[in-house]
């Protein structure tokens, strides 16, 4: 497979207009270099190095993409989606370092994205419908070319939205501890006692995207639609496509948030409809160190490090 891709790369490189493009790019680079020389900016070596490095990286990236886009085996498509879910859960658990959030996020993101993706991937089984995700026109198979980018959008979206919801739920439970206990003392179940909090968290997670949908075409033209139009898809078709994508993103996010919220908030309570005091204390301690504060701290440290590096460079000069 890898060797096949290398051959593909080689074949595409052998096409004449690729070389014309490279030659044009080379001329532009020469122009840049001479401009730099003329203006004594001393950027020449940097320019050459950056473009050399950038070109290699992006060609490699492109070839990995073409490797992935070429996938036609269903199990491999699912495997890649699964790995992306794993990665998303990992990223989420790092931004929101709460107990079990990796596992919870993984279960939630995987189940919702796989369900949504499966529905979309196999939408072509409706008679007379060619499917939401275009099939390979020759073999009528699902290909990585569409499944993987759409899947990655769905997964990363679900990850972000459920993260916002979790953060909100966590701080609201700590803030409303007294009210929740009052509800429990009246005989309410923990799940019902936090209904309002859950509801607000879904709103917080989904509202920005819903607003974005409402402003579509006036304020924003989403990247996907723009890309499709450049790729030759008729604008109206691309527009409908974009709407379908937003619906997928929102539903995957909503399902993910519901699952993460339920599994996450369960930990706050015991089976006897009580607060789990030790868990609550643990979370409250983390709360004093909000993610924002943590990031700020890291940013500060990083800047100091850069400063120190600069200083040491200056002194050695």
């Amino acid at each position: 497979m890898v060797s096949q891709t290398l051959i593909d790369i080689w074949n595409s490189l052998r096409q004449a207009n690729i070389w014309i493009r490279i030659a044009l790019a080379f001329i532009l680079l020469l122009v840049l270099i001479s401009l730099s020389f003329w203006q004594k900016t001393k950027l020449e070596s940097k320019l050459i190095w950056s473009f050399l490095r950038g070109t290699i990286q992006i060609v490699l990236f492109g070839s990995i993409l073409s490797l992935i886009f070429g996938i036609r085996k269903l199990w491999m498509l699912y495997l890649i989606l699964f790995l992306m879910c794993l990665f998303a859960a990992f990223t989420n658990a790092r931004s929101y370092p709460y107990p079990r959030l990796f596992l919870i996020g993984f279960i939630a993101i995987t189940s919702s994205s796989i369900v949504i993706m499966t529905l979309v991937m196999f939408s072509y089984i409706f008679p007379g419908f060619e499917g939401i995700i275009p099939l390979d026109p020759d073999t009528l198979e699902l290909t990585g070319e569409y499944v993987i980018p759409i899947g990655s959008m769905v997964i990363s979206f679900a990850m972000r939205v459920s993260g916002i919801a979790i953060e909100r739920v966590k701080s609201d439970i700590i803030k409303s501890k007294g009210n929740i206990e009052a509800a429990l003392a009246l005989g309410d179940s923990p799940y019902r006692a936090i209904q309002n909090i859950l509801r607000e968290s879904y709103r917080a997670g989904l509202t920005p995207t819903i607003n974005r949908v409402a402003s579509l075409g006036i304020v924003t033209i989403p990247g996907l639609m723009a890309g499709m139009i450049i790729g030759g898809v008729p604008p109206v078709e691309a527009a409908i496509y974009q709407i379908v994508i937003f619906l997928m993103l929102l539903s995957a996010s909503f399902i993910t948030s519901i699952i993460t919220n339920i599994l996450f908030t369960k930990q706050f309570f015991t089976k006897k409809q009580q607060f789990d005091i030790e868990f609550l204390n643990k979370i409250a301690k983390l709360d004093n160190q909000t993610t924002g504060a943590l990031l700020k701290e890291r940013w500060k440290k990083w800047r100091e490090k850069i400063k120190r590096k600069k200083k040491s460079v200056e002194t050695t000069d």
């Binding site: 509800a183 009246l186 179940s189 015991t270 009580q274």
Partner: protein, 247 residues
């Protein structure tokens, strides 16, 4: 209300009860029975475990060790939610839910499918000396004292047989305190059992017939209020109320 002779001997009894959080002992070796004569007070310095003790009674927490019994049966075997319907609780702060007074009063009844018509809710408000027009008012506009009275009425809406109160008047002015105390006396005379945590000796004298005295997680004394104030002079009692930090 309920005037028939109950078939249980003790309202609550605690047998060898311990409670720890994160390895720290909060209550230890509590052995006590609370019968149903009048209002029971729980006193002691701050941090002595009074709130913790109260939460054990409606199972908002469970003992690390030992048994808590309600009407002679182990509450560990009872459903928390049903237990809490019979045992109302009012905390130091009102913790009302967003919305109107009416929606707060109906929060419990909705869980238990108890039907209320407006005149009954007005009666409920009357027991805490609030006018009928409070029913439709938003809780945001109420004073602290009014909110606490709504909180008390909200607990009563469940028609509990016991009421637990955790320093219900600590944050209130004298007038509201008096209204609440009068309501409690009235409720007690109607047969509702009341257990109140307080740090006010005056309130203890005014309201309670018997009291439990806690210090550093230990039950130091269980006696009638009369005997307590006969047994110890003011200076001794004040020294009881000093906690480790001398506050």
């Amino acid at each position: 209300m309920n005037t028939t002779k109950e078939s249980f001997s003790n309202l609550f009894s605690l047998e060898d009860v311990y409670f720890d959080i994160e390895g720290k002992v909060i209550l230890s070796k509590i052995n006590v029975a609370i019968d149903n004569t009048g209002i029971t007070g729980i006193i002691g310095p701050s941090g002595s475990g009074k709130s913790t003790f109260l939460r054990l009674l409606n199972k908002l927490i469970s003992p690390t060790q030992g048994i808590v019994k309600f009407k002679d049966s182990d509450i560990a075997e009872m459903k928390s939610q049903e237990l809490r319907k019979e045992i109302g609780m009012v905390l130091q702060r009102p913790f009302l839910f967003k919305g109107t007074v009416k929606s707060n009063l109906l929060y419990g009844p909705k869980i238990w499918n108890i039907d209320y018509i407006d005149p009954e809710l007005v009666n409920l408000l009357d027991t805490v000396s609030l006018e009928a027009d409070f029913l439709e008012r938003d809780i945001e506009g109420l004073s602290g004292g009014e909110q606490q009275r709504v909180s008390l009425a909200r607990s009563l809406a469940n028609q509990p047989i016991v009421l637990l109160l955790d320093e219900p008047t600590t944050a209130l002015d004298i007038v509201s305190e008096e209204i609440i105390e009068n309501t409690l006396k009235q409720l007690a005379s109607e047969g509702i059992k009341i257990i109140i945590v307080t740090h006010s000796l005056e309130q203890t004298k005014r309201l309670t017939e018997q009291l439990l005295f806690l210090k550093e997680g230990l039950l130091i004394e269980k006696t009638t209020t009369k005997d307590f104030f006969k047994q110890y002079n003011d200076q001794e009692i004040r020294s009881f109320f000093k906690n480790k930090e001398g506050k």
